[in-house]
Symmetry: C2
Subunit: 154 residues, 2 copies
Amino acid sequence: MRQARHASTTAQESRALLTKRRLKVTKARLVVLDVLRSARRPMSVHELLKAARGRAGGTVTVYRMVNSFVARGILRAVNLRHDHLDYELIGPTDHHHIVCVKCGLIEDFTGCGAGRMAAAVLKKSRSFKLVREHAIELFGTCRSCAGAEPSSKK
Amino acid sequence: MRQARHASTTAQESRALLTKRRLKVTKARLVVLDVLRSARRPMSVHELLKAARGRAGGTVTVYRMVNSFVARGILRAVNLRHDHLDYELIGPTDHHHIVCVKCGLIEDFTGCGAGRMAAAVLKKSRSFKLVREHAIELFGTCRSCAGAEPSSKK
DNA sequence: AATGTAAATGTAACTCATTTGCATTTGCTC
DNA sequence: GAGCAAATGCAAATGAGTTACATTTACATT
Ligand SMILES: [Mn+2]
Ligand SMILES: [Mn+2]
Ligand SMILES: [Zn+2]
Ligand SMILES: [Zn+2]
């Protein structure tokens, strides 16, 4: 809120993010956080490794990293029907994802109405007392992939 | 629609389910379908094997089974944040699941409002054209587990 | 700035879910 | 009942993710 968004502001944010949770600041961790920040989309461990070009440490290190980050609320794990989990930074704006099943394009969206949904479910359910989290993903086709379609007539 | 729901009605339904998709009717397949029908909840491959007590064939067979069933629209794979997929029969009533993160209790719910949600997302999105599917799961605590809680004050 | 300690890392080995190759059996069509 | 593709069983392979353990590093304390 004080300085302009120049230079290594994000590095400072990452430092803060880590120290706040009492995690040590290491080169590898800063790189992974930076990769995620600039990618602006959920990434798998292997995508992180590739994007970091060796600067993120080894495979095991990145696995340990994402696990501890998820445990401490820095990252969220999302299931986009790939055969693995993808990870993204938890930001101030909660959101979900819509995925193109043809090309893999991912877009965020907000306004899922989960509050209403949870309330309705709890009202009807005899067994459940509380909803803590929700997972919502949409799967469809993007404009370019829909164009290249055989023919979804009707 | 003609006979009452006695005896082996479900076996007939399973036979129909299979032959309609040009899948051969085997003992193992009938057993798996029956297990799922009576369990009324999503089950993992290993739960299926256990519940079937040897009558479902070997592990590999059940894996192949659920894969072909999912491919042909007999089963749906659901992700309940276990470390594997669970499978459930696709019925006439589309629904989602709410899971107790303490004890694993699973309950179905309907009325997720995904139609509205999809419409809203498509209206806002520049990239997406069509929504085909959606995954929604709620995670919370059931009454008995909420009771045994340390103290969720406030 | 040197030191101590717990946390983080690297390497290799391991676990566990799921898949694949191949030989054998079985359901179904004619 | 014969013939053939589909289904099965078994063993081996694959691949994601974890664990053990020795080594290094961050960082608090002096
Ligand atoms: Mn996102
Ligand atoms: Mn269900
Ligand atoms: Zn696309
Ligand atoms: Zn419970």
